[in-house]
Symmetry: C2
Subunit: 621 residues, 2 copies
Amino acid sequence: MKQLKVLYGITGIALGLLVAFLVFGNTAANDTANSDATNKSNAEKVYVAPGELDDYYMMASGGHSGQLFVYGLPSMRLIRQVPVFSPDPATGYGFEEESKEMLGGYKWGDFHHPAISETEGDYDGRALFATDVGNNRAAYVDLETFETTDIKEIPNVSGPHCAAFVTPNSEYFFAPTRFSVPIGGEYADLDEYSDTYKGVMTALKPDFKNNQIDVAFQVMLPPWSYDLSDAGKNKSDGWGFLSTYNTEEATTTLEINASQNDRDYIVMFNWEEMAKEVEKGNYTEVNGVKMFDPEENSGSIYLVPAPKSPHGVDVTPDGDYFVANGKLSPTTSVFSVEKAKEAIKNEDFQGEAQGLPVLNYDSVIDKEIEVGLGPLHTQFDDKGNAYTGLFIDSQVVKWNLDSGKVIDKTEISYSSGHLAAVGGDTTNPGGEWLVSLNKISKDQYLSVGPSHPESMDLIDISGEKMELVANTPSQPEPHYAQIIDADKIETTEVAEKDTDRENAVWSTDDAHIEREGDELHVYGVALRSRFVFDAESDRPDVVEAKEGDTVYFHITNIDQDEDITHGFGINGYNENFEIQPGYTKTLKVEVDESGTFPIYCTNFCSALHQEMTGYLLVEPK
Amino acid sequence: MKQLKVLYGITGIALGLLVAFLVFGNTAANDTANSDATNKSNAEKVYVAPGELDDYYMMASGGHSGQLFVYGLPSMRLIRQVPVFSPDPATGYGFEEESKEMLGGYKWGDFHHPAISETEGDYDGRALFATDVGNNRAAYVDLETFETTDIKEIPNVSGPHCAAFVTPNSEYFFAPTRFSVPIGGEYADLDEYSDTYKGVMTALKPDFKNNQIDVAFQVMLPPWSYDLSDAGKNKSDGWGFLSTYNTEEATTTLEINASQNDRDYIVMFNWEEMAKEVEKGNYTEVNGVKMFDPEENSGSIYLVPAPKSPHGVDVTPDGDYFVANGKLSPTTSVFSVEKAKEAIKNEDFQGEAQGLPVLNYDSVIDKEIEVGLGPLHTQFDDKGNAYTGLFIDSQVVKWNLDSGKVIDKTEISYSSGHLAAVGGDTTNPGGEWLVSLNKISKDQYLSVGPSHPESMDLIDISGEKMELVANTPSQPEPHYAQIIDADKIETTEVAEKDTDRENAVWSTDDAHIEREGDELHVYGVALRSRFVFDAESDRPDVVEAKEGDTVYFHITNIDQDEDITHGFGINGYNENFEIQPGYTKTLKVEVDESGTFPIYCTNFCSALHQEMTGYLLVEPK
């Protein structure tokens, strides 16, 4: 027996299996060899061998890092940290002129809730949108290049947390605020909170041709906190759903004061209607934005009471129901879209709040699911099931949408904040994998001192019972993620040789330096394994400047081979950027000190990478 | 049959094990039970189940990200990106006052070559040292907290790339330069290169008591490029070894001009001797540093010719040999320390270069190993074998130190830049795992557009043949890594309650705000789930300031539980930082604009995290 125990300890083999094998013999063993995913060991399920690719991309919010984290699933390997709202020293995002201008001096962002663009309610893989809760911005990430191509500051708002959710054909993505402030952020005493402070929802319009976004219009909302959101789909297309808390309108110690009401609201709004009204001119211009006031234009926004300080509100794949997760209630509430529409039609209101009609709870509720403590977020599979993460109980609960019955619970480590299933918020969920984005990792990984990583649990949801398969640490801090089939993303790896491109030089022979007064423009190239700044010079990789000059390095990477990245760093100059194959980047430096400054390729590019250097020589005045 | 499948689904079974069990009975099972990793599938070798921990830490250079990447092995999961030379928006490193001052305005660094502190030539897990090639700095990372506790600018140098290597009892770590510049970085024409430009090696002294480093002395070196390095050990203790290229002293197009000589040098220097000489006063003070000139103080530095532009130079675990990897030669050269010492004693010189004696190659060489194209770096195991990575051939080559015979080759994907084996550069290598840090990943992962991740291959070296087990992408850009037994690191997770700590407040009742002219000092606390800035106020989480004030937020996280991190962000204020349990952090903000600015916890800390908010109200002047 002792020997057997050792065996079990090392291989993790189930005794039952051995017994079964001995009873049923070789046939059973054969089946194992030919088995599908559900018969694989957990190790095999997540293993992606060298040379093979993951099946899915997981696009995870990077939270207060400001960046987008791109994972492969099922391996859960971090493929790329894509810079969005914060500078990135490694790639030079925020260092070279183009991205520096786009970032606009911001050194930090709080990336909340990525939203992949949709067609017919399903991810189409063209772009990803995100909002910055820290500094009130929105971003467009082009999924052909995984580059941030546009960032817009959003006027009149404070903390667009309740975002980004995209409408079924990417007409808009919406970004309501978590904080209420006086419109425009002016100073006002907190005693004036209920009258002067406002929530604001922003409708952003994607421009897929130019990879940009624009603020289309805004909607003034009561001074509550808007937390999470989802767009209607199918039968509920045209509608959007927002969760709220602090409908108490507390101005201090929200922990207690915003947890008084037994029910807050789900805000249900008709964005198609609103867009039409704005089109008709029913708006006021506020700081350059068309502001729609639903108090003055009734009929497009309604409140549905929901227990208690709900975090996520999630629309079922068929669009028939919206599910509110009552953070301070042990329940998840399933509301019927049809019933809600009926109640609206019948003006079946139980009252109003801040001038908005409140639908009768009993008329709209379909069922309450007793899931456990701290339900925050729900995702869906392809078999009519829902999955709700519990922060306090540290569990994921599987329940059936039709029956409302709880089918299974699995432990996670620890404190689930959000869930992401394959296509789990679309009209077409996948049903293979679910990831719990956990807030506490504690003892799950080798200790790295006081600052613990976050943690993500991968759960196999293909069977009747959920199975926790693996976990992985993550950097701060994924809030929500979306998981998309890998074949829905089509990338380009190399930029085409565009001879019309401003500042580009495509041959070593054409590299040259132009002086205009005290501005020096270097039209240079990077190639394996040298820089050429001035083809005519004896030292073509040397730039001679004078103290007080402004030097513009316009560098084109003329290596048009996949994965041949060059870096450009100036020693002692606090500047670095990468140039991808076929790209042109510009760096502006004020050379206010004389001296000898080596220039070098910072990204290991070839066997002679170390030799890829030059000098910036700055003569004293 | 169906029942069996369910069974298999629940557990994980190794087919080979079962067969062995049936054939050999209990004895075989016993053997298997005690077997090493080679009987597991690759998937199982790297799988670390939830609740279990990795066996090793891998501390990887983050290259031009400026940061330290901490991985767990064998899972290769990124546990933590520890900020060192660049700001980190997520943790607020470089944002709050303490780390902001330590970073000194640098927005970027180029982290090269981590070195864990050593005792008797083996990692002791106390600290990790690193240098910044981009901006000429060195850092001390405390491995009790995984925090950067000291950064020093290094005067007189340009690009301390050939670093950090630590002496066997951490007396020093050395940081020689990759670039040569006029000492102090002054301007000088490149025609004066051979006379005026210099390489410089810096000896940094760790202070383990105060978690600091100091520049102890510097050594003037010929105007060559110094690439990689290693410290002697056992018989070669007291010596250090540096690889060089551009001994041609070329000043342009190094790709060609620095690749002329068939042999460059390994610089072999007696650091104990040098330290003694400096102690005796044999130095000149240059910009505040004691500069030792080996031309004027002969007897401590020698040159060993080595083929051709060598990248790594690596000392064998017994300290008897140093191995040079001839980047542009198909060979790795094994030199004998004993022979070198004998040649020095006999003044068996073949000439001199830049005033330094050149040992006779034939007198020092032990053997040349024909490894293949582009050898860059060598590591060692516990069985007398060496492993050399080939950049051009994209292979790792295993060869025997005694026989010089090549034993095995394995393909990697692609272009190995550095290798890291468990304890692979110490007196006590482990022999279980080897990681190839590859420069090109190309088709190995789901495409994320033009900017490819780097790639790391995990190789099982416990058997006679190497086995490529798994790979993982990494962010830009690991250059070297060290792998240490997990049980050698002892961390603390919570800072002790220190009532004498400056600016700390340890109870909500003691939170208060002090005004001194136009400076406002907020002595506040963060706890689950609120901020208390002023215990006496009706709104204890609100700070009222006046336009033009300077506000200091001194915030103590009084939650002294593991992994309860609070964040502190001010909406629209471009500021954020984390406060670990028991820590006090200070943020200084100039409030130069009136308005209403929500303050919020940026790191999800509890079920009521969303409620953990406050306001900064700035009254107009």
